[in-house]
């Protein structure tokens, strides 16, 4: 039994986008805040 035998995953696209955004946005926020703190290490 494979995905392709059941019509693929296109019907899940909105849910996929929402799920990745819910975890991706906070992670991007954390990385951005951390990089801001790293700048003094390189004399910024």
């Amino acid at each position: 039994m494979t995905d392709s035998q059941h019509g693929g995953t296109s019907s899940y696209t909105p849910r996929l986008v929402a799920s990745w955004l819910i975890v991706g946005i906070p992670l991007a926020y954390g990385i951005f805040q951390t990089i801001r703190n790293i700048i003094p290490l390189f004399g910024g």
């Binding site: 494979t2 975890v23 992670l27 954390g30 990089i35 003094p40």
Partner: protein
């Protein structure tokens, strides 16, 4: 029934379910429980609020990590049997309850409630949450198990990146007298209690995303174009299965335990000491050429490499194999540690580069180990075996700081140490990594007498048991 969504029939994926919904489900759990590495944000406020020592407050974190190891080891078989949905929900309840009980402890100035709440309840949530998505990811990504588990365990490294700045902002919101940008400014206990309530609610909701999205593939499912026979092209990759009870009787389990222990011990040595270490390496008399703010930035840089190493190196292991990957972590790690000890103080950029790669190997070691376990012991109870292996992490959490602090205490006082004072500790870590390197070389396929005949999937077989019992 209100909790019927946790039932077995709702956990098995319907045909066509996208496997790419599983990594964000796993990330939702790991990003939440990764908060445990951001406890330093409210350490001083708690010291002041309770009038306690740093050690007494530090016990909260240590207790949580010990409970993580205990819960992962004890509950692993249960997690494999009931499936990821019920396990994630249980983890979310314990993790959120930990914060709420902790908040009650802070509000009523009862430190023991904080120990019980965040330390015990939170720690159990950590242990169950950490292992809950692992075997499911391996089932959904038989073609790329390293990539799949790397994505999830990357979240555990990334959790602190989110929780640290978020907690500072929330504390300044709840306590107008607190300014995180001012050195020496400390938030009040009431603000920390409100922060705990907020984090408990927010993390519970985020973890519910994982609960609602996670599914186990139907028996017999495989990704399009995947041929299981192509996986067994390397000598260490098995198509057989070993139970968790039998796995701990094999030399392979204890060799891998040693590998993880050595890799984590060496990495923790640097992580624990990162901020003072970079200042000590570039010290002129009583002052350092690296300012305190730059040292804090160095800690942040290591966090990013810790996180990305988990994803990048674990994904790489899908191509070069798990054993060669650990040869890189441990073998190249030996060279990097030796360079750090001998020429690390010659330039800040070189020191930062060496430490960053070392920490990326530390993170990579965590993320690659579930796929290594799958290769050696099969998928039957890989979650439970992973849980038992994580006791190596707990042991390394004690050994790593003991080694580095023991050597540094013998060399002088904090604030007076220089690069040469770190050499004995760093060369000891070279020895620790060498032990791990040899242990990895000794790993061979598991003897046939440990193989399970007719067992391939603990979750599916638990379902069969339920069905046969109810039909009797």
């Amino acid at each position: 029934m209100a909790l019927s969504f946790l039932d077995r029939e709702h956990t098995i994926a319907e045909p066509g379910y996208s496997r790419w919904l599983i990594p964000p489900a796993a990330l939702a759990i790991h990003l939440s429980i990764g908060q445990v590495y951001a406890t330093s944000v409210y350490k001083l406020p708690l010291v002041q609020h309770f009038g306690a020592s740093l050690t007494a407050i530090g016990v909260i974190f240590s207790l949580a990590i010990v409970m993580l190891g205990v819960a992962a080891a004890v509950m692993g078989t249960w997690v494999d049997r009931v499936g990821p949905r019920k396990a994630m929900f249980t983890a979310a309840c314990f993790w959120a309850a930990g914060f709420l009980i902790g908040a009650l402890g802070i509000s009523t100035s009862q430190l023991w409630l904080l120990y019980i709440g965040y330390g015990v309840f939170g720690g159990i949530g950590l242990g169950i949450g950490y292992i809950s998505p692992v075997s499911t990811l391996i089932k959904w990504f038989p073609d790329r198990p390293g990539l799949a588990t790397g994505m999830a365990i990357m979240g555990f490294g990334g959790g602190a990146l989110i929780a640290s700045p978020l907690s500072r902002q929330l504390l300044s919101f709840y306590d107008s007298a607190y300014d995180p940008s001012v050195v020496g400014s400390v938030a009040g206990g009431a603000a920390v209690a409100k922060l705990f309530v907020t984090l408990g609610i927010v993390y519970f909701l985020v973890m519910m995303l994982g609960v609602f999205n996670v599914r186990v593939p139907a028996p017999g499912w495989s990704p399009p174009g995947f041929d299981a026979s192509t996986v067994k092209t390397r000598s260490l990759v098995t198509t057989e299965n070993v139970s968790a009870a039998n796995a701990v009787k094999t030399p392979q389990f204890w060799l891998l335990w040693t590998v993880l222990f050595c890799n984590v011990t060496a990495g923790i040595g640097i992580l624990e000491q990162a901020s003072p270490m970079i200042q000590d390496f570039f010290r002129n008399g009583t002052s350092s050429t690296v300012a305190a703010t730059a040292a804090a930035g160095f800690v942040g840089l290591l966090s990013i490499f810790n996180m990305t190493g988990r994803f990048v190196w674990s994904s790489t292991s899908d191509y070069i194999g798990r054993k060669p990957m650990y040869m890189v972590y441990l073998g190249v790690g030996i060279v990097l540690y030796a360079l750090l000890a001998t020429v690390g103080s010659s330039a800040t950029a070189l020191f930062v580069l060496l430490a960053a790669v070392i920490i990326s190997f530390y993170g990579g070691g965590f993320a690659t180990v579930p796929a290594y376990l799958r290769d050696i012991f099969g998928t039957f109870q890989v979650g439970a075996i992973h849980g038992r292996l994580l006791t190596a992490w707990s042991a390394a959490g004690v050994a790593g700081p003991l080694i580095i602090n023991g050597f540094l205490d013998a060399r002088g006082k904090p604030g007076e140490l220089v690069a040469a004072d770190y050499r004995p500790a760093l060369f000891t870590m070279v020895g620790v990594l060498a032990v791990g390197f040899v242990a990895n070389l000794l790993i061979k396929p598991v003897s046939e007498r440990f193989h399970e005949h007719g067992h391939t999937d603990a979750f599916a077989e638990a379902g069969d048991d339920t069905t046969s019992r109810s039909s009797r």
